[in-house]
Symmetry: C2
DNA sequence: CAAATATAATAGTAATACTATCATAATTGC
DNA sequence: GCAATTATGATAGTATTACTATTATATTTG
């Protein structure tokens, strides 16, 4: 069924035009009980996105979440074994969704250059409209990933969580974009580094633009961040013509 | 006195050859009582670096620190009003120290290109030898900044802390390196973005190399990270010769 | 050597992540 | 349609945390 969709005649770029029936896959080891399997699970995921986005992951507590959905801490812990795992679930969901966006944005495009341009847009553009994918607010989730995702791997648990597969969606996405880089320049030595740098760099630059503007040269109005990273990528992988 | 040092005939690059008498300035609003003013303050800073490096900032507690230096929580809180402020102090110290390293690495160098190369090395190279600057273990502090510093600004307190000047040493450093970029190409539009991306990107790539290698193309043995970022920078700012 | 200051000792608060237990509600299998 | 299973709620509890308050004892300073 997914394959069928990929062959639709006109594939649109923007995420809000994606069909909402595609199942987003998240590693089952990130939850104790699939939140998609019940109303409560759905409320947990949906409301945790609202809450983390509103108050930040540090101030976010399972108790606050439970109160917000008229449930109890114990019930939440039946779905996610920890606050960390819940965050990992959300981030993993995000990258799985980004992978679909990438597929839709690049299918039937013959030019590798255009494909890479579109991938960079997907990565560097902040979602500005309040759109939902089922019960998930994509703008808020996007915002969470931008500000909280480094915390998911910059800790002492990273190896343990990596073994669980917590970062495999992220890695898959990076590798898919890296593959486009390799199409354009098979000799370029650092495609994965380049793409992971663009991803994390774009997240940070968005944060800096808003809070520490002296670290950037980007205005909030124009898409300087996209321009900047696009420039970096294409200059880096350009094959020298002599 | 500082000025004098800058005019020493032969300026060496490596940090362990810096004189240890240069006072590193840290914004006074980051502490309640200057830790340099007493034995206890020195022990707090010195041991917190050891501890945070060993167990990570999340697991680091003021109680553990107090026990490690045979003191009490209350005493530590007389120097730093919070765990966060202590981290901000350490990071601020780091950037102040990096500024000195930058000055020493670039003084009396006429070529802007060489200056920028040296700056990039300073930024991207991890400190591998256990060297001390007075009571501060530079290797451990370097490691802390690489893994914990994003947490210092990726939170809801960032604006408040920014007003205190918590990030001014970092900004100063970024701007000093950006100035070299501008020397090389006055028309380049994103010097600050470029340098802050290189700094944060290099930190992350070091972490990825160790924990999530699929996100990189760097081996731990070679200086691929330096090569990669050096390549990015010089290609990005190259003036097109047609 | 008195006065000021720094530190230690001790206790306490409110909040946190997470666990345990048991009762009740909702769903399912037959 | 009803028993058995499962999901949730209610409630309580643990150990730990960041941080504060208070008082006593060192240590330094004028």
């Amino acid at each position: 069924m997914i394959v069928l969709l990929l062959y639709l005649p006109k594939i649109k770029l923007l995420m809000f035009e994606l069909p909402t029936t595609i199942p987003i896959q998240v590693n089952a080891k990130l939850y104790l009980k699939d939140p998609n399997s019940s109303d409560l699970g759905i409320k947990i995921v949906s409301k945790s996105i609202d809450l983390i986005n509103a108050i930040g992951f540090e101030d976010f507590t399972i108790r606050k979440l439970a109160q917000a959905i008229n449930s109890t801490e114990a019930s939440v812990y039946r779905y996610f074994e920890s606050k960390q795992k819940l965050l990992l679930y959300l981030i993993s969901w995000y990258w799985s969704w980004m992978e679909y966006r990438l597929v839709f944005a690049t299918t039937n495009i013959s030019s590798s250059k255009v494909k890479l341009e579109r991938a960079i847009s997907l990565i560097t553009d902040k979602i500005e409209h309040d759109e939902k994918y089922n019960y998930i607010n994509l703008k808020k989730l996007n915002s969470i990933v931008f500000t909280e995702s480094t915390k998911s791997f910059l800790n002492k648990e990273v190896d343990k969580e990596n073994k669980l597969g917590a970062f495999s969606e992220y890695k898959k996405f990076v590798e898919k974009v890296s593959d486009i880089v390799i199409e354009l320049n098979p000799k370029y030595k650092f495609p994965n580094m380049l793409i992971s740098t663009v991803i994390e760099g774009a997240h940070l630059q968005h944060h800096f633009t808003e809070h520490l503007p002296r670290l950037t040269n980007a205005s909030t109005k124009e898409d300087h961040i996209q321009l900047f990273f696009s420039d970096i990528v294409f200059k880096s992988i350009a094959t020298t013509k002599k």
